[in-house]
């Protein structure tokens, strides 16, 4: 831990400082002590352990603002130990744990449980989030002040919308007392209630009840009005439609304190992936039309969408081997979010720096974390990325306890080859 380490011969990429240069960095006591353009093997400080990055991209470790980790209550689907190994293999060094566990994280003691369990069993950083409403029932706000003091970095009812405008108003207003972040799952619940996939031609053909895309923008636009009134800091998680992304783009131009994120499956897949009732593609919000997918890509490119998240939602076979409409929502994503993001770089749709920004600096600022930047004093959470290495996503590589990926057998390019948390290597790709 205290040992001096020199990462040399790297392509340093730091979105926070817009740095993209050859060099290296020095790590000691779990912190970055120096970012050194031009640092190569022959100029490393004496006595340091030298890690040769072989010209690959050395970036801040990725921060995933939205992942479900199974604990407490659904350990048969996921644990912090298994999820954190998957995260490390995916280049992720910090996970914001979703609060929609069983019991859900709506009391101080449960926030402390998540922190303690993470410290004892996870190999990457896990920061707790807490519920906006007690029992995620959408009626009474939680003790947000004390939950934040206990360590909750944001507030969210998970994959459940805060449906009542009055409750959302009170939550946003109350949160301003500490500048807390309220995360919405933007889906009008009564419109989405009976649906199982995006409403459209595909749903019609399959005979599956649809969720109209307006269910998303209706909640987003309502919430933006509430943000305007209350001044509360607001994040729309996993936006999936052109209309809602445009609404947030406009709100930002008006100076509102709003942000949003996109899940990798919403820019890597469209509703056609449902194909022959593949339940692993059943996610919430649902995979949308090709126009909506392209709007997500454009939103990432111009910054209307701040962050990329995995929306990691592990489910066992019992929850997925069901008729499509009865199957659980969600797909795993910790190991695939980075390579799927890199696809947008290879397709020349989003610059590499912006993609890394959406995976490091943007979520760090949103959650108020010190990590997510290459700077002296910042935590030595790092990822070494080979952006070009071609490979194939296969079931046997998944370290998550659940294997419900929507991307099995997909050929892909680029991945994390080494992941470092607090100066210690927690993942290294064999044969790299």
């Amino acid at each position: 831990m205290n040992k001096l380490k020199a990462f040399v011969n790297a392509r340093l990429m730091d979105p926070a400082s817009d740095l993209d240069t050859a060099g290296g960095l020095i790590v000691q006591n779990g912190k970055i002590t120096d970012v050194a353009p031009g640092l190569f093997a022959d100029s490393a400080p004496s006595g340091a352990e030298v890690i040769d990055c072989e010209g690959l991209v050395l970036a801040p470790g990725l921060i995933d603002a939205r992942a479900y980790l199974g604990e407490p209550g659904q350990e048969q689907k996921e644990t912090m130990a298994t999820a954190s190994r998957a995260a490390a293999a995916g280049g992720i060094t910090t996970i914001a744990a979703m609060a929609s566990t069983d019991p859900c994280i709506d009391e101080v003691a449960l926030v402390e449980f998540v922190s303690r369990r993470a410290r004892d069993t996870a190999i990457v950083n896990v920061v707790p989030t807490a519920c906006v409403t007690r029992g995620r029932k959408g009626k009474e706000i939680t003790e947000m002040g004390m939950l934040a003091e206990a360590g909750a970095v944001a507030f969210s009812d998970g994959h459940r919308a805060i449906a009542s405008a009055q409750v959302m108003r009170r939550a946003l207003a109350y949160a301003t007392g500490w500048d807390l972040l309220v995360i919405q799952h933007p889906e009008e619940p009564s419109l989405a209630a009976s649906g199982a996939m995006n409403a459209g031609e595909m749903a019609t053909r399959l005979g599956i009840p649809g969720i109209p895309s307006i269910a998303e923008v209706m909640i987003v636009e309502r919430d933006l009005r509430l943000v305007e009134m209350t001044g509360g800091r607001y994040h729309a998680a996993c936006v999936s439609t052109a209309a809602s992304i445009e609404a947030i783009r406009q709100a930002k131009s008006r100076g509102l304190p709003v942000s949003c994120s996109a899940a990798a499956h919403h820019f890597a897949l469209n509703e056609l992936a449902v194909g022959d009732y593949r339940t692993f593609t059943k996610v919430s919000p649902p995979l949308r039309s090709e126009e909506d997918r392209l709007a997500v890509v454009a939103g990432l490119a111009d910054g209307a969408i701040d962050c990329i998240v995995s929306d990691h939602s592990p489910h066992d076979q019992e929850a997925k081997r069901l008729p499509f409409a009865q199957a659980a929502d969600g797909a795993i994503g910790l190991q695939t979010v980075l390579p799927l993001a890199l696809e947008l770089h290879h397709n020349s749709q989003v610059p590499l720096m912006r993609l890394l920004d959406a995976l490091t600096r943007a979520p760090a600022d949103m959650l108020g974390l010190e990590a997510g930047r290459l700077a002296g004093g910042a935590p030595a959470d790092l990822v070494l990325i080979d952006p070009d290495r071609p490979w194939r996503i296969t079931e046997d590589m998944f370290l998550s306890r659940s294997k419900n990926s929507a991307f099995e057998d997909r050929p892909i390019q680029g991945r994390a080859v080494r992941t470092v948390v607090a100066g210690e290597t927690v993942f290294e790709l064999n044969g790299s």
Binding site: E140, R170, Y174, G177
Partner: protein
């Protein structure tokens, strides 16, 4: 304590809200009128400490206390004030009366008016209800608290308590803490303190102290330690039970943690800062028991004492006004 100043001649001008012989709120009163009411009240403080408290100033007058909301101290205070001034006082209990059977406010007002009362003290759960009733009766109406609007005699008794302890109101910094949004006590105090030249800060959670109060020229603080910094007076408000269960505030424990007055937070105020509370207190919710009972800092019992004197003064001034004195 300052000695009682000799009450001067009435400063009430024809365009004053008091000119019609009602006390419906503090808003619109000028510093001379407020000072006049406080001076009158001051003259009754020592009187009320005598064994023989009976006066005949209002002999022959009839006072009806009409309370649509439950009240112990305000109603008792008005009743004692009227009796000490020599008036005949009756209390109308709304519970179990024809009012509960669906009689409208106006009909009740007309019925009572037919009995020729000289003074009606009215408390109602709806803002503006007392003013509506005042338009329909011939006697003097005193607002004993209407909804979230005003509670003028509470603000006057608070002002008298402060003036006796600090010698003046002007130039003081007063923090009002708690459920400002729903508080008639806060509104009346804001008007009075602003009028008399005190600085008012509002402290509480954003759901109960919305930023819209800044447009009234007030400082709004959500962090209690910052809000209490160097204040002369700390006025705590009662948190209503129904606000505590997650709609405005998540829990009493979170409320006390961030906005309950304890010695740790009080340390930010001036060392001689006075602690006030209109009552009834929720100990352990908005105020710690040891702070509430601190005989050196707390003026809470004195407030109750001043209440009777202030109400005696209001009764006298309104009856004088109607008699054309």
């Amino acid at each position: 304590m300052t000695s009682a100043q000799k009450p001067s001649a009435s400063p009430i001008l024809p365009n004053s809200p008091l000119a019609k012989g009602h006390l419906l709120g503090i808003e619109g009163l000028n510093p001379l009128e407020i000072g006049y009411l406080l001076d009158k009240a001051e003259s009754y403080v020592d009187h009320n400490r005598q064994i023989d408290k009976k006066l005949n100033t209002l002999q022959g007058r009839t006072q009806i206390n009409l309370f649509y909301e439950n009240s112990t101290r305000t109603r008792a205070s008005f009743e004692l004030a009227g009796k000490r001034m020599g008036a005949d006082v009756i209390n109308m209990a709304v519970e179990g009366s024809s009012i509960k059977k669906g009689e409208t406010l106006i009909d009740t007002a007309m019925t009572l008016n037919a009995m020729q009362p000289d003074i009606l003290v009215v408390r109602h759960d709806q803002s503006g209800a007392v003013k509506l009733l005042a338009q329909k009766v011939d006697g003097a109406v005193i607002n004993g608290g209407d909804g979230s609007h005003e509670h003028p005699t509470q603000a006057l008794l608070d002002a008298l308590t402060i003036r006796r302890r600090k010698g003046t109101l002007s130039g003081l910094t007063v923090a009002i803490c708690g459920d400002i949004a729903h508080s008639r006590v806060a509104r009346s105090n804001i008007h009075l303190l602003n009028t008399m030249g005190a600085q008012v800060r509002l402290i509480g959670p954003p759901t109960l102290v919305p930023k819209s109060f800044e447009r009234m020229g007030l400082e709004v603080h959500h962090n209690m330690r910052e809000g209490l910094r160097d204040v002369d007076i700390v006025m705590m408000l009662r948190l209503q039970m129904e606000r505590m269960q997650g709609s405005y505030v998540p829990s009493t424990s979170e409320y006390f943690h961030f906005w309950g007055l304890d010695y740790e937070k009080l340390a930010a105020a001036k060392p001689d800062a006075l602690i006030m509370h209109p009552g009834p207190m929720n100990r352990g919710v908005e105020i710690a028991t040891d702070v509430a009972d601190d005989i050196h800092r707390s003026a809470i019992r004195e407030q109750v004492e001043m209440g009777v004197a202030v109400r005696m003064a209001c009764l006298e001034v309104l009856c004088d006004q109607r008699a054309g004195a």
